[in-house]
Amino acid sequence: MKRNERGYPLFTLGCAVLMLFGSAAAQIFLPPAPPKQPSEYGKVVLDNYASKPGSPGAVVFDHWLHRSKFTCRLCHVDIGFAMLAKATGITAESNGQGFHCGACHDGKRLVKGKPVFAACSSSPADAQCNRCHSVGKYAARKYEYNTFTAKFPKAMMYGIDWQAAEAKGMIKPIDVMEGVTFRKAQIQGREDFGITAGVPWVHPVYFSHDKHSIWNGCELCHPEIFPTAKKSDVQYTMYSNVHGRHCGACHLRVAFPLNSCQQCHPRAPMWAQQ
């Protein structure tokens, strides 16, 4: 090999390594694109026990219907669902005892005047297993996404603008459930604030406490997701968001997706959108 040809293999190798590294970094730092169909967004598959003999199969939980009827706080604080799929440990037994899904799905509780069907009912006459255990099955749905959300205002980037829907009175999420919610003294509302990014090329975030605490209360985020109310104590980056921690606990799979950059970074340029 001549002297000036020696560098080419190395150069190619170097480029390949950089590309791999770059794509890996992109995977790590940039948020994934949400599903093409907004009706699929917020879908949680629960299959802790699906493979066990006698199991009716995995459960599919669609967030969109429940979030139109209840605040996040009611399910995730009062009832106590975890915010990671399969982390809560819901069983037919716990539902039957009135916990988890069974807190509402007990066949008796009235929501907006209608009784809610019982989850994991032991009597075969009431059993409507396929309504939840619907993975791989065709189950006629009571509410269809497109019909239900036809008139809801659409979000800037993707999906539905739930806050606008509430502002217009199209949805009225219930925050208090008798026998489940304990009313406590209100802690004074916290102010909105800005979060500057750790790197200069990322525009700062504008965080609205008001918008979050209306549906989440305080306990949903504090202290488990954000251990302290003091801003500087918690360090997180898009890395943790993209991996379902901190902001990503909600904004990765249920609340508006992370790749709607301008909804948090108001001055981010449009081309930054993935």
Partner: protein
């Protein structure tokens, strides 16, 4: 080349570090009957037994925290006491009560850990060494908690109110172990400023704590500073089990119940 390698390694380390972090997610919240459950497995599996499952709710309704954690000497973290079968047989730790002779509420307390075990004894072993097994208990949580005043989170029970109403009577004294029979001189309640704008001050009630804990449980091991304000701890420290978190993460009312501490004026 060295600088590049270093940079790559450093970046890899950063990613690894971030992935190991624990905060930032909303994890499973134990159900009311699961809250306060402690699994002890220092020696169980090595001895071909299932790990021990200890439920706090039934014990705390019968005894104050002090009796077990000071007089008998249990540590405050799972696995730290180092309880062995031989200790129980000799009448210490679990064996202080679980000796086959003691009567609690007119019921004989079953004996823990015997060296000479028959086939029939297997059931008795399974009463504690029950992780992964369905073991019938003498006490059903729902029947137990049904008449008690409710609170949110944790066991779902307002333990203080239950005691006030006389529905539970935790004993503060255990024969042969408690040398302290005199009642405690009342300590002052005080407030703690969280130093975060908007969060109500914390009213710390010494009285409520010392009624069940005495002094030694907290001082100096959990709270070392002699002067108020000398030890600094944040909610992050607490959620990791330090200071208030020694009890208020796993056994006493959990940290999600903000207003129980951040209450001004004092909740009666």
């Amino acid at each position: 080349m060295n600088a590049k390698r270093f940079a790559i390694l450093a970046l890899l380390l950063v990613f690894c570090g971030l992935s190991l972090a624990q905060t930032g997610t909303k994890k499973k919240r134990p159900l009311p009957y699961e809250f306060g459950r402690v699994v002890l497995n220092n020696y169980s599996e090595k001895s071909d037994l299932s790990p021990v499952v200890f439920e706090h709710w039934i014990h705390r309704s019968k005894f104050t925290c002090r009796v077990c954690h000071v007089d008998i000497g249990f540590a405050m973290k799972a696995g730290q006491t180092g309880i062995r079968a031989v200790d129980n047989e000799r009448g210490y730790y679990c064996g202080a009560c679980h000796n086959g002779k003691m009567m609690v509420d007119e019921k004989r307390v079953f004996a823990a850990c015997s060296r000479r075990v028959n086939y029939e004894d297997q059931k008795r072993c399974d009463r504690c060494h029950s992780l992964g097994k369905k073991v019938p208990s003498d006490f059903d949580f729902f029947t137990f908690s049904q008449p008690l005043p409710k609170e949110r989170f944790g066991n779902g029970i307002d333990w203080e109110k239950s005691e006030e109403m006389g529905l539970i009577k935790p004993a503060a004294y255990l024969d042969g172990f408690t040398s302290n029979k005199r009642s405690l001189a009342a300590q002052k309640d005080f407030y703690l400023n969280p130093k975060v704008e908007g969060m109500p001050d914390i009213i710390f009630s010494h009285k409520k704590h010392t009624v069940w804990n005495g002094c030694e449980l907290c001082h100096p091991e959990i709270f070392m500073g002699v002067k108020k304000g000398s030890s600094h701890y944040t909610m992050v420290d607490i959620s990791e089990g330090k200071s208030c978190g020694a009890c208020h993460v796993n056994v006493a009312f959990p940290l999600t119940d903000c207003q129980r501490c951040h209450s001004k004026p004092v909740q009666p």
